[in-house]
């Protein structure tokens, strides 16, 4: 016979068990499932959108309707494995390898400018690997820069009061090499992502407000200045002019901007339904399965679908910021902050150009756009975030 007291004891005992269970700190429990879940959902959504954009009978180069879907799925698979490897290797080894990654990225960027590089859409930004594989060194450069910044500001020159002028100058010098090389391709979109990532990481690391404001000013005015000073090649200038006056040249560079806007807007609240987009099946938007993948979502899934995608991207960014805030060491925090800056700006720039907020530059939308290099880099970045997350002891309120 159990008594009331017994029961109470048993109850208390069980509750303390639960308490202990809740307190238990394991790698699995440190792992951020929400981050993985939202990014993989985005990848899956991306694959569907890529399929919709490429399934038409007049598919690019006469491939089968599901060719791009298969390749995108393969990219996601490889990307997930690369991300897992990155996560498992984790902090110490990556720190050791960071200088190597940095040098590799710079070497690849140099290589792409040489005879090995291929020009796509006016940018000399691809290395043809043969067998249908291409590598975009700019994606490697994003990873390398994030890791290098974290290493310099979070470890080597980490100071309690934040980076001083020498550290800032050192970082700027380090960043200048890959940025300069990307500018030579020229790939303005990636340059802007790298610049704003550097500024974001410097800000989070505690650089003085004067530096941050000054660099932000330089970044924003620089983008405008580059146009004004005619440093850009013709095609980039036209893209910018088309951004400012899209109606002037409906079949030229303004064409992309106009068609992208029409396509997104014609979706309305609920969209016309997956696979039913006339703008999409008619291929009115160039590069729709890569840089302009968001227009497919806009037309076929409507405002509701777009909001879900924005929310998922917001979720990824939120988890990234959370991981940064909880990181026990500055290195992890800066890695996470760097990835967040990169994703945030790239997302804003990519979607912004399809809805007429930003000029047209060639940048993929993280997780959703078709493209191996970008997909790998994005999922490796998720691996980095997760490695920071599992290096963080659980804190219980």
């Amino acid at each position: 016979m159990t008594t009331l007291a017994d029961s109470l004891v048993a109850l208390r005992g069980r509750s303390s068990m639960r308490e202990r269970l809740r307190m238990r700190d394991t790698v699995v429990r440190r792992f951020d499932f929400l981050l993985l879940g939202s990014s993989l959902t985005l990848c899956a959504l991306g694959a569907v959108l890529v399929w919709s954009a490429t399934r038409g009978p007049a598919a690019i180069s006469g491939t089968s309707p599901t060719e791009y879907l298969h390749r995108d799925a393969l990219n996601i698979g490889i990307g997930v494995m690369l991300g897992a490897v990155t996560m498992v290797l984790g902090g110490p080894r990556l720190r050791r390898w960071t200088p190597g990654v940095y040098l590799l990225a710079c070497a690849l960027l140099l290589l792409v400018l040489g005879p090995l590089g291929a020009t796509v859409n006016g940018s000399h930004s691809w290395i043809i690997l043969g067998g249908g594989f291409q590598l975009q060194p700019a994606e490697v450069a994003k990873l390398a820069l994030v890791l290098s910044l974290a290493l310099v500001l979070g470890e080597w020159r980490a100071t309690p009061e934040g980076p001083g002028t020498p550290e800032v100058l050192l970082v700027l010098g380090l960043a200048a090499v890959p940025i300069g090389l990307v500018l030579l391709q020229p790939d303005l979109g990636t340059v802007m992502v790298l610049v704003f990532t550097v500024i974001g990481v410097l800000m989070v690391s505690g650089a003085s407000r004067r530096w941050v404001v000054a660099l932000l000013l330089v970044g924003v005015l620089g983008s405008i200045g580059v146009v004004q000073l005619n440093v850009l090649k013709d095609y980039q200038l036209q893209r910018f002019t088309a951004f400012l006056h899209p109606g002037t040249d409906p079949r030229g560079f303004g064409y992309n901007a106009t068609q992208a806007k029409i396509t997104v807007a014609s979706g309305g609240l609920l969209g016309v339904g997956l696979g039913h987009g006339a703008q999409t099946s008619g291929r009115f938007v160039p590069e729709q399965h890569t840089d302009f993948i968001f227009t497919v979502a806009g037309e076929e899934l409507g405002f509701l679908g777009c909001s879900v995608i924005l929310a998922l991207l917001g979720l990824v960014l939120w988890r990234g910021l959370r991981i940064a805030a909880r990181s026990p060491d500055p290195y992890g925090a800066l890695v996470a902050a760097g990835v967040v800056c990169w994703f945030a700006f790239q997302t804003f720039q990519n979607i912004g150009m399809t809805v007429g907020l930003m000029p047209i530059t060639g940048l993929p939308l993280p997780f959703l756009s078709y493209g191996g290099s970008a997909m790998f880099a994005n999922l490796v970045a998720i691996g980095l975030l997760e490695s920071v997350a599992i290096g963080t002891p659980r804190r219980v309120r």
Partner: protein, 679 residues
């Protein structure tokens, strides 16, 4: 853990920035998809839906036996897109040179065809829309078309496509170019009168530009269909959204008879050859054959003619010059309805009708036919100044005595002048009778651009003088030296040109001077003599038939009026005219013709054609039929600058009757009219 608070603050700023950016995207999406969605949806639809016009087959034009005079055929059309050319670095010069070489025409010719018509642009030019591909050839060789399509990179802006165009099968060698007319692309001017939607649909239409193609354009053209298709960014069709099928145009069955038409065309050539054999210049001719009882046109021809095929796919510069050349006699003119000529003695049945009806003369009384009559201060002579003594009206018509009519003119003119003096209106009997016969006014035939002619009277001369005679004469009087013979005339006309003088009436009575009629007007007038006095507005169209064979409409010749003379008088006139080929002015031309088996009546006319030529206009207006029945057909042939009616026009008409009734070697063009036996 010192860094954490610092980082926390900075991360807060970053979080604020990141979600600020996301919020901006969200806001812009809301603005685009929810607020502006409708506008962009419309833009998207405009983007990917195109209306393709499915041209309707144009109806055919058939003769009374169902033989096609105008049909359709499939052709290979080569078109040039001006917009595409203008985008090329040299504005397409190289491409056009290559194309001209391929088509074996000159570069200038291709260039002309695609030049937009406008002020000071010589024909041929492009009359249609600058946005539609312009045809440069419709009779392209299949090999040429293949070459253009296969080497499209060498011919950017040029395309070859299958299209339908008009064809002219020419049954029995009948051409009938003037009657049938031709089609040409719709002009920008015609388009501008349509609604915007119709403009887009009809931009590639062809419309009738002459002849029956114009008069019956609405029935022949049918209704174009519209296929609404979804297209992709490069204009490739991905699906058909909706389709309104094209409705073929109706066929027009005419009263023309291809065999008679061919006979008429040959007869004009024969008349011209005759005239030239007498040393006359004779460069033009016109002829018409009417069914006297129904008022329908059996054949109509004008010489010189042209080949309507030259208009297919746009006329070339050289061809256009040729068909509008004054030196060549402006082949585009349909002289049967557009040529205005003084009818000469062929007008006399009308004069006789007038003077007998008015009581100035009696058909069975005799009148003197002296060699000349003095009118005003001038003596008017008979042809070759012959004198026939006292003759009755029958003989007056058969022998065509002028002086009898001069005397009637004098009588009538003085009577009218007296009336005017007494404050009464003049009667002007001959002029009124001419109008009652339908002369001097449009017949209203179902062909465009008919000329009206002129029957001068006191009022019309005054009006003419006021509008331009006076101005020209007064200016001429000042300009020309007094020694010039025309100077005196100008001085007179400057002050007195409005007066309708006795000499004017004399000329009028014998169809000279200011009387101007078209061959068709005279034919319709003669038809009234043998059909009981009905003046018809002649028709060429007989039946409109839908593509499914249903009769849409039967076309009868409307009655314009009845000639107000007694049946007795009409019979007297007709009987006199039946004697003209037997014993009168046309006896020579009809020598050997079996007049007992085919009854032929008619009247010759030899008209002075004004100051500018010494050569006369040769007329023969005739009717014919089987014995014992009213005449079935009327034929009129006019050959300007060809001399006497008896020597050029009458032989031509004889050839027509021979052809129709199967006289001599010719098989009958109208077998039903031969009463079963060959004469």
């Amino acid at each position: 853990m010192k860094y954490t608070s610092r980082y926390g603050l900075r991360l807060g700023v970053l979080r604020f920035l990141v979600f600020g950016l996301l919020l901006a995207l969200f806001g812009q999406l809301w603005y685009l998809q929810i607020v502006g969605g409708e506008t962009y949806r419309r833009a998207a639809v405009e983007n990917h839906v195109r209306d393709v016009v499915v041209p309707a087959d144009r109806g055919r034009i058939l003769d009374d036996q169902g033989r096609a005079l105008v049909a359709n055929r499939t052709v290979l059309r080569i078109t040039v897109d001006r917009i595409a050319l203008s985008r090329q670095r040299d504005h397409g010069t190289a491409v056009l040179h290559r194309l001209a070489g391929l088509l074996r025409v000159s570069y200038a010719d291709v260039q002309h065809r695609i030049t937009l018509c406008g002020k000071g642009v010589p024909q041929p030019c492009w009359n249609g829309s600058p946005f539609q591909p312009i045809p440069v050839s419709e009779q392209a060789d299949p090999m040429v078309a293949l070459q253009i399509n296969e080497q499209s990179e060498s011919y950017p802006g040029v395309s070859a496509e299958v299209a339908t165009s008009r064809s002219y099968p020419r049954p029995s060698q009948a051409l009938a170019a003037h009657v049938l007319g031709y089609v040409a692309p719709i002009s920008e001017g015609e388009l501008s009168t349509l609604s915007t939607e119709q403009q887009d649909i009809r931009r590639n239409d062809v419309v009738g530009r002459a002849g029956l193609e114009t008069s019956y354009n609405g029935l022949l053209s049918g209704r174009d269909g519209i296929r609404r298709v979804a297209v992709d960014a490069v204009g490739g069709v991905t699906a058909t959204v909706s389709e309104t099928p094209a409705v073929s145009g109706d066929d027009l069955l005419t009263s023309l008879d291809a065999k008679v038409q061919a006979v008429l065309e040959r007869a004009l050539g024969l008349g011209l050859a005759r005239a030239r054999s007498f040393g006359q210049p004779a460069k033009t001719a016109a002829g018409v054959v009417l069914d006297a009882q129904t008022g329908h046109v059996v054949a109509m021809a004008s010489y010189p003619a042209y080949n309507p095929e030259i208009f297919i796919g746009g006329i070339s510069a050289a061809d256009y010059r040729a068909v509008t050349s004054r030196k060549a006699g402006v082949p585009l003119l349909n002289r049967a309805i557009q040529g205005e000529y003084a009818p000469g003695s062929s007008f006399k049945p009308i004069s006789v009708s007038a003077v007998v009806k008015e009581g100035t003369a009696n058909f069975h009384d005799t009148y003197s036919c002296p060699s000349g009559v003095t009118i005003g201060n001038r003596v008017f002579h008979n042809f070759e100044s012959t004198s026939l003594g006292q003759i009755n009206m029958h003989t007056v018509l058969v022998k065509s005595c002028d002086t009898v009519f001069y005397q009637f003119a004098n009588h009538d003119w003085f009577a009218d002048q007296r009336r005017i003096k007494n404050g009464q209106p003049p009667i002007e009997a001959v002029q009124n009778m001419a109008r009652a016969y339908g002369l001097g006014q449009d017949t209203g035939i179902d062909l465009p651009s008919e000329s009206g002619g002129l029957i001068e009277d006191r009022a019309s001369k005054l009006a003419r003088w006021k509008t331009y005679l006076r101005r020209n004469a007064c200016a001429g009087a000042k300009r020309r030296p007094a020694s010039d013979p025309i100077h005196q005339l100008d001085v007179e006309n400057c002050t007195d040109g409005w007066r309708f003088r006795d000499a004017d009436q004399a000329n009028e009575n014998i169809g000279q001077g200011t009387v101007l009629v078209t061959p068709l007007q005279l034919a319709a007038a003669y038809a009234s003599l043998v059909n009981g006095g009905t003046v018809y507005s002649p028709r060429i169209g007989a039946v409109v038939r839908a593509p499914n064979g249903r009769i849409v409409r039967r076309i009868a010749s409307p009655v314009r009026g009845h000639v107000p003379i007694s049946a007795r008088l009409r019979a007297d006139i007709v009987s006199a005219l039946y004697d003209v080929p037997r014993a009168g002015t046309a006896a020579g031309a009809f020598g050997g013709f079996p007049l007992d088996t085919v009854h032929v009546g008619g009247k010759t006319g030899t008209a002075q054609s004004g100051l500018d030529t010494k050569y006369d206009t040769s007329w023969f207006a005739s009717f014919a039929g089987l014995p014992g029945k009213p005449a079935k057909y009327v034929a009129v042939v006019t050959i300007p600058q060809a001399g006497q009616g008896a020597r050029a026009a009458a032989p031509a008409v004889r050839a027509i009757w021979e052809g129709i009734f199967g006289v001599g070697q010719a098989p009958a063009a109208k077998p039903s009219q031969t009463s079963g036996r060959r004469p």
